[in-house]
Amino acid sequence: MRIIVLVKPGAELGDSDACAVEHALNIARRRMDVQVTLLTAGSADCVRSLRSALALGADDAVHVADDRISPYDALTLSRVYADVATDLGFDLVVCGRSADTPNLSLLPELVAARLATPVTAVSARSVPPRHPSFPAIAEARQKLISTRILPSNAAGAGAAFEPAITVRIRSSCPNTIIYSDPDPHAAAVRLVDFLAERRLA
């Protein structure tokens, strides 16, 4: 039996992805012959997060190496994940649901829609992951990470790798608005306006 865990692209393993790996391992520990395979797509520094996930106990990993895929482009990521998962064959797909990363919160649903099978979505606080021991980290270095390259000259692939979106991250700190006004009502109005703009109130 094979469980594929989808790992979001990035150098650091996200909390929801760690919880997803732990969830898959909980299933694997109860049965015989379960292989837990990680899958990620993106630039070369994704290998670091794969090694962290392998140290948690996953068996092997597949890295689709392509610098053109944006880490926030849920549509393209879901297509790549679905294609590779179908190619590898699976019995279950598990994916971490991250509320923090822009645009990727619906990644489990997108992959489920493409594969036409349910995808288990694990949220970041549900299953506490273990801390890897030093032997596990050392063993992780021996585990296999196979690299795939997407064909750049396949028919129709040119359109597929146009980025669907461009994301600009805005850092919060430089835009601090400080408001000091002796009238508390005016301050309250400005605050509620600020919250309403962000759909928080």
Partner: protein
């Protein structure tokens, strides 16, 4: 010396109206008589980037309906309010139409220079390159439910030494209820007995990740800042203009929180009353599909 602003010639000509259709999935609460507030908000956003086309359907078959209409109308964008049921619809539609998907959006606008829609969320702005995009819009309406626990809450209203007393904390608790969130406290406030232990935030190993963190009377120690780093939007109220937390906040108010918090509660109540479905709505009827 005051400057008189004269309108430039370029501003006098109105810009070309945006005519591309924009699908809006109507809320299930809509009926023939009135539109739900969530739908009205989506229509307002839709008007910024095109001509709204309202899709009214049973949400169990929502994906098929939206896909069918999208294939006929070729909309520039499809706006859907984010919720558990709608998220499934959004994903199905995005995959079947091969359109970009942007989630948890708070605002959108049309960039005429780039000829693209730009969607704004808390920490990022996204330009859309594909011809159609599915945009899930953050739902503003909070269903009244039991108070969430601190580690899971979307909104945390916290107080520190500056609150001054347990009565001050009950005021913060009212604000937390008004915003649909839960109460938090710094370790100092917990030690002074003003807030219960389970509300304390900077315990080692506990990081919270709310969408909104509102701090009153919290000076902002390094440890506390580490505990709240995951918060997406930080609002701080403090009487000390040099408090470290004001540097980290997205919005800060310098003032007496015992006067500002009651004013905040009044303003929130006033806005909630103004936006209930019973009040008259002046939005004109959009084109129905």
């Amino acid at each position: 010396m005051c400057r008189v602003c004269r309108p430039r010639a370029a501003d006098m000509c109105p810009p070309m109206p945006l005519v591309d259709p924009v699908l809006v999935l109507a809320d299930e609460a809509d009926d023939d008589v009135a539109l739900a507030p969530a739908t009205c908000e989506l229509l307002t956003l839709a008007r910024r980037v095109g001509t709204p086309v309202l899709v009214h359907c049973d949400h169990c078959r929502g994906a098929e309906e939206v896909i069918g209409i999208a294939r006929d109308h070729l909309p520039r964008a499809i706006l859907i309010t984010s919720s558990a049921m709608n998220d499934r619809i959004s994903a199905q539609v995005a995959v079947r139409l091969e359109s970009a998907i942007v989630t948890d959006v708070t605002d959108i606008y049309f960039d005429r220079g780039l000829d693209r829609i730009v969607a704004i969320s808390d920490r990022s702005s996204t330009e859309i390159h594909t011809h159609t995009a599915v945009i899930t819009v953050r739902s503003r309406i909070h269903e009244p439910k039991r108070e969430p626990l601190l580690p899971e809450a979307d909104v945390v209203v916290a107080g520190g030494r500056g609150v001054g007393s347990a009565e001050g904390f009950s005021l913060l608790a009212q604000v937390a209820r008004a915003l649909g969130g839960c109460l938090g406290a710094t370790r100092t406030a917990g030690e002074l007995g003003w807030a219960p232990r389970h509300a304390c935030i900077n315990l080692p190993g506990a990081q919270i990740r709310p969408r909104l963190y509102l701090a009153g009377g919290v000076s902002g120690s390094v440890r506390h800042s580490a505990a709240i780093r995951g918060a997406r939007t930080v609002v701080a109220i403090d009487s000390d203009p040099n408090a470290p937390i004001l540097r980290e906040a997205d919005f800060g108010i310098v003032g007496d929180l015992h006067r500002i918090l009651p004013a905040l509660l009044d303003e929130l109540a006033a806005r909630a009353a103004a936006s209930t479905p019973g009040s008259t709505s002046t939005t004109p009827e959009p084109a129905e599909a």
